[in-house]
Symmetry: C2
C-alpha cells in the first residue's frame, strides 16, 4: 500500500477516498444482483426460464456448469511407470494450464462465484485425476500416497503460490516438492 492511499483522516483527501470506495462498493453490489438472473439468461438464450430451472435447478448450479466446462479432464493422466513421474507430469501440465490466460480466467470465475458448487466440482476433478495416479502406484506395488496427502502437500502449495503470488512453479520445484512429499510420508 503506498502513501497516497493512506490519507490523513478527516481531511479532503479522506473524504474523497470514502466517496470513491463507497461508489465502487455500490456499483459492485448493484451489478452483482442485476448481472445474471435466470430470466435474463433465458431471454438471451431464447428459452423458457422453466427450462433452465428444470435442467439446472439453481442459478449457481448453471454457473458452475459454465465455468467448469473447460475444467473437466479430457483424458486420464499418462502412465510414466512410477509414482513420481506420473505425479510430476500431471502436476506440471495442470499448473501450466491453470496459469495460462484462459486457465486464470476460469479460476477467477470459479473462485469468484458464491457458494460451493463451482469449487467443489473443481476439487473433485483434481481428486479424480490423483486417484488414477495413486491407484496405479498401488497396483504396481509401489509405495503410494493418499489422495489427501497429494492435495495437501503438493496441489495446495502450488495452487496458493499461483493464486496469491502470481508465480508459476518451475518443473524443478514441482519435482522437488513431489520427491520431498514421497520421502516424508514413508
Amino acid at each position: 500500500m503506498n502513501d497516497k492511499t493512506a490519507p490523513r483522516p478527516g481531511g479532503r483527501s479522506a473524504r474523497v477516498q470514502t466517496a470513491v470506495h463507497s461508489a465502487v462498493r455500490e456499483i459492485q453490489k448493484k451489478f452483482e444482483h442485476e448481472r445474471l438472473t435466470v430470466p435474463s439468461i433465458a431471454a438471451r438464450a431464447g428459452v423458457n426460464p422453466t427450462t433452465i430451472y428444470r435442467r439446472w435447478g439453481t442459478l449457481d448450479s448453471l454457473l458452475a456448469d459454465v465455468a467448469l466446462e473447460r475444467m473437466q479432464p479430457e483424458q486420464i493422466p499418462e502412465d510414466f511407470g512410477n509414482l513420481h513421474d506420473d505425479l510430476a507430469n500431471w502436476m506440471e501440465a495442470f499448473i501450466d494450464e491453470m496459469a495460462s490466460d484462459p486457465g486464470r480466467a476460469m479460476l477467477r470465475e470459479v473462485l469468484g462465484t458464491q457458494g460451493h458448487a463451482c469449487t467443489g466440482k473443481c476439487d473433485n476433478y483434481i481428486r479424480q485425476q490423483i486417484e488414477v495416479i495413486t491407484k496405479r502406484a498401488d497396483d504396481r506395488r509401489e509405495k503410494s500416497l493418499a489422495v489427501d496427502e497429494v492435495v495437501q502437500f503438493i496441489v495446495a502449495p502450488l495452487m496458493y503460490r499461483m493464486l496469491f503470488s502470481d508465480e508459476t512453479s518451475k518443473e524443478k520445484e514441482i519435482e522437488s516438492l513431489i520427491r520431498t512429499t514421497i520421502s516424508n510420508t514413508e
Copy 2:
C-alpha cells in the same frame, strides 16, 4: 455433474444447453466491461476522474484497495510464549475470519479480480503476520520456521481446503498440522 447436464450431442437438449451457456458468457462479458470504469466510479463518488487516476493510478489498484481494506491486519499476532501456540492462535483466528460471510465475500472479490494487485497484497499481509511470529521464536532462541515454510505447509493447505472444499479446518486439525510441520522441518 448429474446426468441432466450431459445431454446427447445434437439433440434439442444439446441446443438448449449451448444457447444457455452462450447467454451466460455473453452477459458475463458485457457486465465485466460495463460494470466498473473509472468514469462511472467518479460520477457516483462526485469526484473528477483525474482525481482517481492521480491517487490510485489504475482501476486495478483502486479495486485492490477497496477489496483489501478489511484484510489489513489491525494488530500484530498475540504472544503466547512459544512458536506452536503463536501460530495456532493466529491461524485459527485467521481461518475463522476468512471463513465468515464477509471473509468469504472478500476472498471472492480478491480472487475474482484480474491481475495480481489484490492477491499480492493479501499474500503480503499474511507474510507480515507470520514474520512477526517466526522472528519472535528466533528471539526466544526457539527452533523457528521460515516464513515460506509456514505459507507452504500450513497456510496453503488450510486455504485450499476452505476455498475448494468449503470445509473449515477445526482447531485440532490446525494444531496437528502445525505440530507436524514444526517436527518435520527439524
